[in-house]
Symmetry: C2
Amino acid sequence: MRNSSSSLLRALSLLDAFDKGDGELTLTELADRAGLPKSTAHRLVGDLVRWRALERTPDGLRLGMRLFELGHLVPSPRELRDIALPYLEDLHTTTRKTVNLAVRDGIDIVYVEKLLAPNEPVPHSRAGGRLPMHCTALGKAILAYSPPTLLDEVVAAGLRRMTPKTIQDPRALRTELAAVRERRIAYDVEESRIGLHCVAAPLFDRRGEVVAAVSVTGMQSRSTARHLAPAVLTASLSLSRQLGA
Amino acid sequence: MRNSSSSLLRALSLLDAFDKGDGELTLTELADRAGLPKSTAHRLVGDLVRWRALERTPDGLRLGMRLFELGHLVPSPRELRDIALPYLEDLHTTTRKTVNLAVRDGIDIVYVEKLLAPNEPVPHSRAGGRLPMHCTALGKAILAYSPPTLLDEVVAAGLRRMTPKTIQDPRALRTELAAVRERRIAYDVEESRIGLHCVAAPLFDRRGEVVAAVSVTGMQSRSTARHLAPAVLTASLSLSRQLGA
DNA sequence: AGCCTCCGTTCCGACATGCGGAACTCCAGC
DNA sequence: GCTGGAGTTCCGCATGTCGGAACGGAGGCT
């Protein structure tokens, strides 16, 4: 057997073809990216369009409204967002910086909400976006309070270098995480993008487990980042309390 | 043959089972709602979990992060939201009411963004939510500027009654839409929910077609609604210009 | 304890259904 | 026109899907 995917997984791989940025693809491109014969892709696309996972446009196909709807029904980000939003807004108005909320998904973080700073240029991440844990303040805040097996997974997956300052040595990451636990605050000093500084703090649920993190970010200097730490920490404590910790 | 669904559509019907509000379902419930035998559902769910469309929890299944991610990649709401957000924020701060942005999908509207009023209790709609066009200000604003065949579709689908004030007579709807065109403003006077008033205006793209609508809503009186109309109209004009109209 | 219910999981034979190469059509552009 | 690349249709083969039935395990009620 050529590959052990079920028919369903093959169909879903068509949707995967869209997460590399492009908003609109032609059937042939789609078939190529998913590694499916054109005629198979054609049939599957027909069903996906019927279900509105995809929409036909004058010149191609794009993700459809049904996915938009379902995406907003996903419970874990939705419940968290509903509770957190007022706190994020407070942080946003007091700091006047970009505020982020992210949850862990596997060994990545996924942005759940992002309140942009008034003058923010093009942001490097967006709600729904995914970034590795080891190179973001949000990720390190979560990782520092997670069971050690998770760190092993992260290391095993390879500490991918995003900028010259990305931590790539597992030992360095380990001591960094110890420092995070010391302060209850994680920093990202141009580790995911040059020029970008970030301060994050973990959020705990009623079982005392980290489920998410908040951060304030912007192009400010390192000292500005330190200066914002108390605000982030305070918000994270209030929010953790609200979550039942 | 029991039903002419392909295997793929049957699998997707499992996801449909979640949009009736419940965040978490058991495999058996899921199979029942989708009308599938348990063993078939079991196999399909396995693949959906593998793809992260679903997640296993201690006691059931729920929608997974992959859907959250993909939902945020859907181009039509995403592009619109990115452009509109600053305008919505202006409207939000000047009116201090709940501000909505919605697009048309078939004969419904789907909320793309919602900025809650500071003191808003539980809102009756949310981003990603869907409501019929004939009973909402947003829907009527869009419908009034759409080709007449769309109105026919809406009427053919039946003007479902949501409150005692919902317009149920096709003739009444037709004259209402003429009035909307007169003013470039649509009102919802407790037609989707008792006590709820709403003012909306349509948004046009570069081809001059309605693609969306903005609204301000809240529990205010009818006169308050009228009073907010100029603000909504102004925002809609600026925004349409920004969209290239 | 014992029983009972309701959950998820596994098995397997029969058969429908998805598969995909190849051939066809339709534009758009040298 | 012709050529390239788009989307669509066809159809026979066999593969993968289907689903009834039986199993196992985790509670809950008497």
